[in-house]
């Protein structure tokens, strides 16, 4: 007889859930939409698809060196370069039309050439940047180092102006402030360079390339299997799945308070139904709704965005169930602690968002400061998101699902215990 009641409670809750269009949209459409958006934004694209950093260059020097820097920057695949005047540069960056403005001052080439061997009196390169694009600034700084070094060294080893500068340095060497030994060594080196340049004829075609980067980089993203690319969708769907499973549970809790308000709880209590059956029915239906949220959103991500469970499927299922149980008991806790439906909703939404945010559902926790990363282990969502990441793109085994599953079940038990302790059986 209790079984009939139990099954009826589950069936009724599911019927009510599916008859509530807003709840259904919230549970199925929202996570898919938002996760797809986050996934698209955060998934790294193939190299030719990478958005180029837009930068403007002001060449006030117009020397051989500055022209080479400009052409080097222009052909760089990471940059989209435009040559502008000094006044334009400041304006373009201020408007956000370019992330960085590079100003090569008059005399930069010569000064850099002189400083190349002497290491003193270095000229300055002016960088204007959009403060909201710090990452781009760092990237442009790195690329500039490469192009300036290549251009200056290329000019010094074989360029016409380079030879003049070497001659000039040699003739001024006696007046330079350095020890006799150092002067002697520098003289010998510069003389050798002059001989080297003379040997290669100084003609443009036969010119040596100057100093170049003495290495190239081979990059490999370490994910599940050698050839599986990182799929930012997997993390986005984990995060949003966890967020909206909690919202579904929150909604469920509020629905229970509505039942109370409408007097429906009196019918439950007047029927020969044990408290255990009542709670078990609610836990079961809420868990089922939560599981459906996860199935729908991960299912979509697998079909459309080709997210794969690269790790343990059993581990993934276990984390999903543990997460659904944790959410269901959270919903029941809201129903127990809440007084009115609206009051409970108003209090639970910020709490839920906080939990979701600190759990790394919006931005991955590795972006958090170290202390926050340590603190957030007390947040159940953190374990859920990390667990899903481990089973999907990280491709870890069942063993790595155990901790998240145990912790989530622990939270479920704690929430449930509190919910039962505070359940108002006689407030009918």
């Amino acid at each position: 007889m209790e079984l009939i009641a139990l099954l009826a409670i589950i069936k009724k809750d599911l019927q009510l859930f599916f008859s509530d269009r807003r709840a259904v949209v919230m549970a199925f459409v929202m996570p898919i939409t938002i996760a797809s958006f986050f996934g698209l934004v955060f998934t790294p694209r193939s190299p030719d698809e990478v958005a180029k950093i837009s930068a403007v260059v002001v060449d006030e020097d117009n020397s051989a060196v500055s022209r080479q820097i400009l052409s080097g920057l222009t052909t760089d695949k990471n940059l989209s370069i435009r040559a502008v005047t000094a006044e334009q540069a400041r304006d373009v960056v201020r408007r956000g039309d370019a992330a960085v403005g590079i100003i090569i001052q008059r005399g930069f080439g010569d000064a850099a050439g002189r400083a190349f061997f002497r290491g003193t009196d270095k000229p300055e390169l002016d960088l204007l940047y959009d403060p909201s694009h710090n990452a781009e600034l760092a990237m442009v700084r790195g690329l500039l180092t490469q192009h300036v070094m290549e251009s200056v060294s290329r000019e010094m080893f074989g360029g016409q102006r380079g030879q003049q500068l070497i001659d000039e340095t040699l003739s001024q060497l006696d007046a330079a402030q350095m020890s006799g030994d150092q002067k002697q060594l520098l003289r010998e080196m510069l003389t050798s360079v002059r001989k080297f340049n003379a040997g290669t004829g100084g003609s443009a075609t036969a010119r040596p390339p100057g100093v170049t980067m003495p290495y190239s980089v081979r990059e490999e993203a370490v994910t599940a299997r050698g050839k599986t690319p990182y799929n930012g969708m997997a993390h986005a769907f984990a995060g949003m799945g966890v967020q909206f499973i909690l919202f579904a549970a929150l909604n469920f809790g509020v629905e229970k308070l509505l039942e109370r308000q409408r007097g429906l709880f009196r019918r439950f209590r007047s029927a020969p139904v044990s408290r255990l059956t009542l709670l078990a029915g609610q836990m079961a239906s809420s868990t089922a709704i939560g599981a459906m949220v996860l199935v729908a959103s991960f299912g979509f991500s697998m079909l459309i965005w080709r997210v794969r469970i690269e790790g343990s499927v059993a581990g993934f299922v276990a984390i999903s169930l543990a997460c659904a149980l944790m959410a269901a008991s959270y919903g029941l806790l809201i129903a127990s602690l809440g007084k009115t439906p609206n009051g409970a909703r108003a209090a639970a939404i910020p709490a839920t968002l906080l939990m979701v945010m600190l759990g790394g559902a919006w931005v991955p926790t590795f972006i958090f400061p170290a202390w926050l990363q340590r603190v957030t282990v007390v947040i159940p969502t953190r374990w859920a998101v990390d667990g899903f990441d481990a089973m999907t793109w990280r491709g870890l085994g069942f063993g790595d699902a155990l901790m998240p599953v145990l912790v989530l079940l622990g939270f479920a038990a704690a929430f449930l215990a509190l919910a039962v302790a505070r359940f108002r059986w006689e407030d009918v």
Binding site: K12, R266, P272, E426, V428
Partner: protein, 249 residues
């Protein structure tokens, strides 16, 4: 059939029910009459087993309930004061669920639903969502939900609030039919004329205390003789004499 003795229930300092005793017999309608806040709903809740009284006991066929899942609860049906229905579900799905709470299933449940819907005249609208129902139809469905498991005792907490005379009469007819079938009914209201029409006995409570428990005729004798010859002794006048005319709530 059902006997409640010396019930008492306090909410903090407020004693909502104070030493209330009453009996319900088969084939009888007892009217529970009292102004707002008198303690009617609280009394009904204790009798239905929703609230544990601070003192006193409720015996059903001579036995006290032993727990939440005691099958003895099936002997009692409750029609709550609120429209305790799922608006989003059809009348039939509502009844299916409430029936299942009492362990009804299959053919038994279908039979009970059909007959309950028929009794309250909602057979034709059985598959419509409750939110499309009028106030009177909802009241009738609220009643049907309490009848579904065929209880011997039916507790009705203001079952006709907000309905038109047609629905009210239909409900009265239903209740009189139930009395004929030998059910024991407790009918809570603050409408005197309802009690005058329906009740075999009347229990009047005020401030949680029983101030009268008698037949209609017996209550009439409580009043002083009519001041003027021909003045009718109404229950209304008994009620106001006993409870006073000041506002409650």
């Amino acid at each position: 059939m059902l006997e409640a003795t010396h019930l008492r229930k306090a909410f903090g300092a407020l004693v909502a029910v104070d030493d209330v005793s009453l009996r319900l017999e088969a084939g009888q309608i007892v009217g529970l009459l009292g102004p707002n806040g008198a303690g009617k709903t609280t009394t009904v809740s204790i009798i239905a087993g929703l609230i544990t009284p601070d003192r006193g006991e409720v015996l059903i066929n001579g036995r006290a309930r032993t727990g939440d899942a005691d099958p003895l609860k099936r002997k009692v049906g409750l029609v709550p004061q609120d429209l305790a229905l799922y608006e989003e579900l059809s009348a039939r799905d509502n009844l299916r669920f409430f029936g299942a709470l009492y362990g009804l299933a299959g053919v038994e449940l279908n039979g009970a639903m059909t007959s309950a819907l028929h009794i309250v005249g909602l057979a034709e609208r059985a598959n419509d969502r409750v939110k499309t129902f009028s106030g009177g139809m909802k009241r009738r469905l609220n009643l049907a939900a309490g009848l579904l498991h065929d209880p011997d005792v039916l507790l009705l907490d203001e079952p006709t609030v907000g309905v038109d005379p047609q629905s009210r009469n239909a409900i009265f007819d239903n209740l009189e039919e139930l009395r004929r079938q030998g059910k024991a009914l407790l009918y809570t209201t603050h409408y005197m004329e309802e009690v005058e029409r329906l009740a075999d006995r009347v229990v009047i409570i005020d401030n949680g205390k029983v101030i009268a428990n008698d037949t209609l005729a017996g209550l009439g004798r409580l009043l002083p003789a009519p001041a003027a010859p021909g003045e009718r002794v109404t229950l209304e006048s008994v009620f106001l004499t006993l409870t006073g005319r000041s506002l409650r709530d």
